[in-house]
Amino acid sequence: MIWFFVTLLTAHVIGAVLTAVLGTRLPRLAVAAATIPHVVSIALLASKAPQVLDGERLTASVPWAPGLDLTLSFQLDGLALMMGLLVAVAGILVVLFAAGYTGRSGKMGPMLGGLVAFAGAMQMLVVADDLLTLFLGWELTSIASFGLIGQTHHVTAARDAARQALLVTGTGGLALLAGLVLIGQATDTWTLSALADTGVPGGAAVEAGVLLVVIGAATKSAQFPFSTWLPGAMAAPTPVSAYLHSATMVKAGVFLLLRMSPVLGDTQTWTPLVVSVGCVTLLTAGWRALQADDAKQLLAWSTVSQLGLLITAIGVGGEEVLLGVLALVVAHALAKAGLFMVVGAADVITGTRDVRRLTGVWRRFPSLGIGVVACGASLSGIPLLAGFVAKEAVLEGLLHEGTLGTWMAVAVAAGSALTVAYTLRLIRAGLGPVDPQPSRRAVDPVRVRLLAWPGAALGVLSLAVGLAPGVQDGVVGTALASISEVSETPHLYIWHGFTVALGLSTLAIGGGFLVIRLLGTGHAPRLWPTPPEGTFTDGVHLLGDLARRMSRITQSGSLPIYLATMLAVLIVLPGVPLVAAAVIEGSVPGSVVRPGDVLLALAIAAAAVVTARTERRFAAIMSLGAVGFGIALVFVRWGAPDLALTQMVVETLGLLLFVLALRDLPRRFGPDPALLSPALRWILAAGVGSLVTTFTLVASAARTATPPSAQLAALAEPDGGGKNIVNVILTDIRALDTLGEITVLLVAAIGIAVMVTTGRDTGPSLPVEEVVDSDAPADPTTTGVMEETR
């Protein structure tokens, strides 16, 4: 079974790399490479579908750090199957649409590659069983979306939007991690499947965990009060929006809540929190959608609102409601992806997304018209379409869930009325008389087909699912079974009879028409003050300013001050308790002293004094080297050849590098900076010296347990296969430490290289090059500047 998950995920990794490499130069192959991972996903999921539909839960896990109880574990159950199929099917259509959207000139490689990588992250999230695997997939989707939203990175707005999306969803991801850890700690269970079996205990820790998990879901699904990143993310190319902001990324929050609902549904926080977040979002975002004139903004707020609807319903819970929610997840993904594509196509063809200027587009391009009408109708819950069936099921379920359910059914109906209204605005916009002036852009007919057909296909699919809702019974029903107790075989109906739910639906549709009648062609007025655009970015800049001000205070730029601060901390923090303990114990233990050591110590001390007192740099460097070699001799005398060897080589290298640097420095040290008085320096020096001496004596005498070195020595030969214990420790027993250390070295090297070369880039060398190039006599001002800068 593990090969199933490995293939599923690696197909996306390979596909993403391949697509990015083929890129713009071989667009057809790139499109094929981007389609294949989705096809592979569908084939894999289909091959396991019979088992899953029989109610089996297929699992697999790889331990990757067994010592820490960390496991990568995956499961394929009904919910994972449904979401996985959704991600893959939407993925194929989006890839085709993207091919039309970018056309020949566009940067196809990075975008398609990013989409495939994102799909991989999404699949990982969907099939995750282990809580931390889930988190990993979650974060990967955030990171991938950052790259996708920032596709047009030369546009400031796109960069700001990408950063906002990353900051909001990334922070939410951290909240989610904290929540998952709290829940995992409280139950000592780290897999979703086991948690669903055992449930969670009551208590503050779990309730806090619920709060954090819901915050995570709310950021990802752009719920109140974290909504604004999603409309901002409309700066992304439309294929990205069609994929991320309809079917996949924003659904991750909904998916998480669905996954968690059987585990956390009975906690005290869950229902009030989830319902209120969802309900507020449903209504406010619905109104915001009505305020928008940009068709993409309209769709963005519509998505936020619809996600609010789903989340409200999840919060109420109950078998019937969840059935409706699952059906609505599918219906909304189909409809909204389709609408995004249609709007994107209209944008490419006419050059505008303003609903007031789209006149006649749906008439001129009937395939776009089919898409917008069918998808729009499904989104609004017009009968005979998928959205209607799903919304009916949600309403029907809510009405069976007591007072809260009834109130929420009313809220859903109100939200639906808004949905009908803004969708009508969008549809009506393009139905007007065809603009007699020919379009400014001539678009190649193949491209128009690629642009229009995926949207139309989604519209037709919405209609098909709506007419025969029974086709999804199997998948949706199994998904329901994986998150809820199922009493009878679930079934989705096109006709419930004359029920209260039908009445609410009718009212919603009527209300929507009424609203649009009242509004006319304009947009809705602003009912409550909203922060102006760019508030978030301004906040980020403010934070940056604060940081700069902080560092101006703390970072004086003076090396003596830094050093003095560090040494003072060293004396105070470990020094005070050390002296206190020594006073309480009453004695400082002695140590073995050999005459040779005393001589050596005196020599080292003398060299150190010379280093500090000499005025000439070269002498200082040489005597510092003498200190180092003296210490190497100490190591030799105490039987540590490896240490001594390393110390010698490091000293030599240090000396050589110092000498190299010396070429650019004056021969003598300048006058002492007046910042630190000599007395203060003496105190610091004496303090650190005596502290380190005392500490060494105390620490070496304080040992009561057997040193672990004995164990390491015993392990070295049989386990590490080497006789040199030091080396075996470095490369085998504690190899992870070494790996970490060399990584730090690498980062440090990059840091130094960047710091040095960046400083030079704007530094004085440029004018010199210019002077040389122009063959002119050296400009006195430039050389003057140079000298000063040096």
Partner: protein, 158 residues
């Protein structure tokens, strides 16, 4: 400007230094030595050459560009760390085998040795990268900067 002492010292010392580094690397597992010291020794040879001739000449002692050395070093060590997973083991499970080769007789081949090669490569890379960045002196452009100027500077992004 370079003193004959330094020039000849460089010519005579660099090859044995390299050889000594190789010895340290090979012997490391059983005697004093190891990848870290070996890397430092090579780095010392490189810096010596930079002193005697130029940084450009010094970097020619190395098989690859500093960045490549850095990446390859860490990559090799990381590979050794992760490779056991493929065989079903844990991270950093390091096997060793004893084989008998002609001329060398009994030789123990350890994964730790490969790990050590990575460490050595990275250490050399670090020093080389620093040298490359600073260049010969502060006044003229460093090799790294010259490359940048040649490749064209990236546009400023706010």
């Amino acid at each position: 400007m370079t003193s004959p002492l330094l020039r000849d010292g460089d010519r005579i010392l660099v090859p044995p230094l390299m050889l000594f580094a190789l010895y340290l690397l090979m012997a490391g597992h059983n005697r004093p030595g190891g990848g870290f010291v070996a890397g430092l020794t090579v780095a010392a040879a490189v810096v010596l050459r930079a002193q005697a001739r130029s940084v450009d000449d010094a970097l020619k002692l190395l098989p690859a560009a500093p960045v490549t050395m850095l990446a390859a070093g860490l990559g090799l060590a990381g590979l050794v760390a992760l490779a056991p997973i493929l065989g079903g083991g844990g991270v950093l499970d390091q096997p060793f085998v004893e084989v008998t080769l002609p001329l060398f007789q009994k030789v123990k081949l350890t994964a730790a040795f490969v790990f050590d090669i990575g460490v050595a490569g990275l250490v050399v890379g670090v020093v080389a990268a620093v040298l490359d960045a600073f260049g010969d002196t502060g006044t003229t452009s460093s090799p790294a900067q010259a490359r940048r100027a040649r490749d064209g500077r990236r546009p400023e992004i706010r």
